[in-house]
Amino acid sequence: MDRRDFMKKMIGTGIVAGSTVAFGDYADLFAAPGASPPAFDLVAVKGGEPEVMFDKAIASLGGMAEFVPRGSKVLVKPNIGWDVPPERAGNTHPKLVARIVEQCLAAGAKEVSVFDHTCDPWAQCYRNSGIERAVKDVGGRIVSGDSEGYYQQVAVPNGRRLTEAKVHELLLDADVFINVPILKHHSSSMLTVGMKNLMGVVWDRGFWHRNDLHQCIADFASYRKPTLTVVDAYNVMKQNGPRGVSAGDVVAMKSLIVSPDFVAADAAAAKIFGAEPGDIPYIQLAAEMGLGRIDLGALSINRIKL
């Protein structure tokens, strides 16, 4: 597909997000005019509580207002896939999710929505993960992802294997998209971080599984670049993922990664997990497709120890 053809398809889909990929810049289209580029490509924090680590990280990137313009609609997408309590580290830490929602609202967001297309029954996942309560308590909006009616067909123009997907309408509606995965061992994709977490915004995940999972994960990542990727590595499930069998699978790592570059975020998370980013096929594929940077050595990284 040549560039002209590609641009035509872009316009055809009418998806604003698509253009962020074409222009290679993630936030300027939505951010307040004149917003300065962030000081760091990636911030890594270690040694604090989830919400404290996030406060430090976002402050070093210039504050939430750098990413969340006044009056914007924000989608925060944690992992709420499993009906397990927070200590099992199957889902994103509720305190982290709540703090992100709080920060978005404080920055002047019009509304902040939170949802996931869960694996276990959604109401039980939302409740027992602690995320529903935590989000509601800080004024966020909890939305179901459990009905096909919420999902709309979109084209994935840069996809090699995945060329279309049914995507939750809140993602189409959002001005700002903050992906908040939890870092975990994963039986299907070896590791789940940011790109893998995007499986929770589409309806038919089975298609990915039977059509080269790693390629589909990388393909969908090209559809819309998250404004920010916030990786929860506070408690990390090191084995038996992604659901886990017991709390024995979990290691307290008290870490957090924040980056506007989702490939870099996934690569750094892989390192924290103890894996080489290049060994995780979807991270390698995404880097090859030019979706982000895998060469952590070449990035400007702010390392914060608490």
Partner: protein, 523 residues
Amino acid sequence: MALHRLKTLRVGVALVFFTLTVLVFLDLHNRVAPPIAYGVLYLQFVPSLLQYFHTAAPGAAGCIVIVVLTVLFGRVYCSTICPLGTLQDIVGFAATRGRKRRSFRFSAPLNALRYAILSLTVLLLLAGSGLLLNLLDPFSSFGRIVANLFRPATLLANNVAALLLEQVGIYALPRVQWAAFAAASAGLSMATLLLVAWLAATRGRLYCNTICPVGTLLGLLAGISWLRIGIDQDACTGCRSCEDVCKAGCIDSRWKTVDSSRCVGCCNCLAVCRKDALRFENRWRRPVPAAQPDRERREFLLNSGALLLGLTGVPEPARVIIQSKPTTIPERVTSPTSPPGSGSIAHFTATCTACHLCVSACPSRVLVPSLFEFGLEGMMQPRMNFHSGHCNYDCTICMDICPSGAILPLGVERKRLTQLGVARFIKENCVVFTDNTACGACSEHCPTKAVDMVPYPNPANKPLKIPEMKPDFCIGCGGCEHACPTRPYKAICVDGNPVHKLAKQPVVKKMEEKVDTSGDFPF
């Protein structure tokens, strides 16, 4: 006169029971059904009777309460607690609105028919088949009507309302995903509804007094009841206003008699008699011993009834196949899977009345009405359909609400170890084998890691893993089968255990290092 007000009381009580029962079945968001279902449905006769037979738990003695009530006051169950009865009253009320007078007439009882149906139902039950009971039990018929017909309608209304609210940015009302459509159950429910509604609109309570085995059985008890409505021969002027309003057709104003075996205790007649000629009469001046069913004998017969098990699972309708290599090996199972808490298919099919409350309440949508998987006797009884969902590891909702004891409460600890069936891996269908691409959706969903992923040397030389079964740890929750993406046949499927077993405790392998102490970033 207080007797005039009995009708108002009856209508009030009936509406309370009816509303709560409907609510329990229509609770799309599972907010009220789990906590109140047990209490609301405690007095439903057939589920309670079956539970009492099978567990002999005093707490499950709602049917005894009904027997005592009937022996004391006649068939009050039929006019207050039975939701199908109240549904008929609502239909009848709507059908006669606008007309000045109802025009019911005394009719002779269809004794041959009603006792034949009751006998056949009981005989089949004693022979181990609940087929006729499940088809005719008024509570379960009503449950199926609500679950299969009204619930989809409510779901549609809910989703339209949710859609409208979303237009103004309100997401507080969640949409609800359609469950698997069970055509046979929906068709039978529709047939029941049409028959019952037509009879109710034209012939009053003829259904209750002819077809309903509970009505006929309680009618036998009502024949010996303590208080019965009767006519004071002297006070009655023969104006027939009572006969006009008697939807049971049991008042013969010419001979001034009331057939108490067919009187449903609606008290309509008491409300219209201007001469106070209708009254409650004490018929126990010459006491008659109440016949109690021989429980032990019945229990023995019920338990020893051999049940035909289902043959093989009915294949799902083929969907559009979007896969490079469609799978070729059909998922064959030797037995369907019954819900957790049912213990065995024998217990389940003997006790379940197919009211579909669990189908309505299951948040995973894994419970769906069966067709003939459990055999003809088990028609419409719910089975685990792992194409439509999987049983959530920590969920106990079906066992908490089942009114008949077909699904007994195990508690969450025991439930997690109860093996409903065992998953079987069909390697030749697996996408890792056919396409040499990564998957592992099955292992991802497995709560016990009975489906593990092991290294798989492959022609493409990729670092692939392939599922490996550890059957001892499998609980048959179907997470693997539900998640398996291959089409048209899945690469892993649960074969039901006719008698549930205990799985081994999942291996808890603790990470050696519980807290990461390395102070530095690895990049």
